[in-house]
Subunit: 291 residues, 2 copies
């Protein structure tokens, strides 16, 4: 399984879905422009890809469920817009482009984030063909619950800034701010396809470790990454006095933590069949990315 090619394929399919959901018709609306600017900016679409891969791993076709994948990406994009605001991380660069508030102003950036989150929730409520309504409700609940945990993780991080925190608290923060939306994607897929409780539990463990591996790698890239490749300012964590795995234990030890989390993620799916091979490819890919 070539994950790079797979991710490109999903990104292409998602592009079409997002273009239908966020049409380019209301051309004189700065809100629509700000929403589209932040959604169509070359993102890697990892969370929707994870959603699709989970549907595949559970033996179903993800294509009829692409609106849900798009909604998950919108939730991710809203969180980035609000994260970048001056009152939050105050970042002016994202994926190599000026951030939303730099281009459209803070007021429109706040509203664009609100509008993307709201539209995502609405899309989750639109009936999907051949999916029972109660499964959709369960999936929407999982996804919005994960989105809520993400906000809690961000708040926990802000409250912890400049304080002495340990690895346990930091792990809790990472579970919220990063793993929660991975989990939302995977468990949303599990609910739609009627997965068993055991499968959901294993997916939950997988996502916790995947999120940890991803976020620690993010910390390392914030120190060691090339700004042109990473596409956002490096050294942002230092600037914002954020405690990270790197600031606590150094880059080398943090890289070992990320690799161990990646191994544990794969191990969570030990009882799954060949259909889960794509899921097994993510952890290593996340740890070895350069942006």
């Amino acid at each position: 399984m070539n994950l790079t090619a797979y991710l490109e394929q999903i990104a292409g399919e998602l592009q079409q879905e997002l273009a239908c959901l966020l049409p380019d018709t209301n051309t004189d609306s700065p809100l629509t422009a700000a929403m589209r600017y932040s959604v169509f900016n070359g993102g890697k679409r990892l969370r929707p890809a994870l959603f699709c891969s989970t549907v595949t791993a559970l033996g179903s076709d993800y294509h009829p469920l692409l609106p849900y994948a798009a909604a998950i990406e919108m939730i991710h994009c809203y969180s980035l817009i609000h994260d970048d605001l001056p009152a939050m991380d105050n970042d002016d660069l994202r994926r190599g482009q000026p951030t939303c508030h730099i281009v459209y102003g803070e007021d429109m950036a706040i509203l664009a984030g609100d509008a993307l989150l709201t539209l995502a929730a609405e899309i989750l409520s639109r009936p999907l063909a051949d999916i029972p309504a109660d499964r959709q409700l369960a999936a929407a609940k999982e996804i919005m619950s994960g989105a809520g945990d993400m906000v809690k993780g961000q708040a926990l991080e802000i409250a912890a800034a400049n304080k002495n925190i340990n690895i346990d608290l930091l792990t809790k923060i990472y579970r919220g701010k990063t793993a929660a939306l991975f989990q939302a994607a995977a468990l949303g897929a599990a609910c739609l396809t009627g997965a068993t409780a055991k499968q959901k539990e294993e997916l939950t463990n997988y996502c916790l470790e995947l999120g940890l591996a991803f976020q620690i790698t993010d910390d390392i890239l914030d120190i060691k990454g090339d700004e042109k490749v990473v596409g956002k300012r490096v050294g942002s964590d230092l600037k914002n006095d954020k405690l990270t795995f790197v600031s606590i234990m150094g880059c080398d030890a943090a890289a070992i933590e990320a690799a161990n989390a990646a191994k544990r993620a794969v191990a969570s799916l030990a009882s799954w069949g060949k259909e889960a091979d794509i899921l097994r490819a993510y952890p290593d890919f996340f740890v070895h990315r350069d942006h």
Copy 2:
């Protein structure tokens, strides 16, 4: 029908529901504190009351549906938190108290708004006893769609600031920023109780007029109101260069517009029975309020 007593009763029931949904357990979390601060601040709970009254008007018991009423109030509260931010209306007073960002900081206020909107969407996905899942999905879709229209209305207002706008555009802005959430409440109730298409259409007209009457009265209170009674700074529209019905046509003509919209709201329900008497009482009440 004494609407004041009715609203007090609903507010009491809603208080209990909201206290269950936003428990006071995580006492060291500034996010939870900021959410509770903004939700439990003596709001009039007009939108959830409208939701409950619509359920009653359609012949059902609203009590099992109170989680939906609470979710609608959370959406209203999130919009107020974000509206008050320095980058938006920059208001420091709301219902006689310092606004959320004054007390908890801008970062936590942004996140508290995000968290309330997210929690609201999650609550809409939690199964309600005796309500088919497809009705819930339809209701959630209407409510989030209205919440989306509200954001669009706010963006339209920002884009129109300092520009020459006419009554038609202003009416469109008011439909979004005020009527849309009334409509979300009424149509959410209609979907849950299985209302007919004709009933939904009449409710839509009712809410458009009710929202107009409410917002024009808001404009008048922003000029003529007593800050101590209104509970927020008066003259805020003027400060923010907002065009309003009052700034375009003066207080007296604006009051006539509000009264006419209130009459049209009541007329929209001409074919409804006695159960809709509460709904008929709102328009006049909204126009004659002093806060």
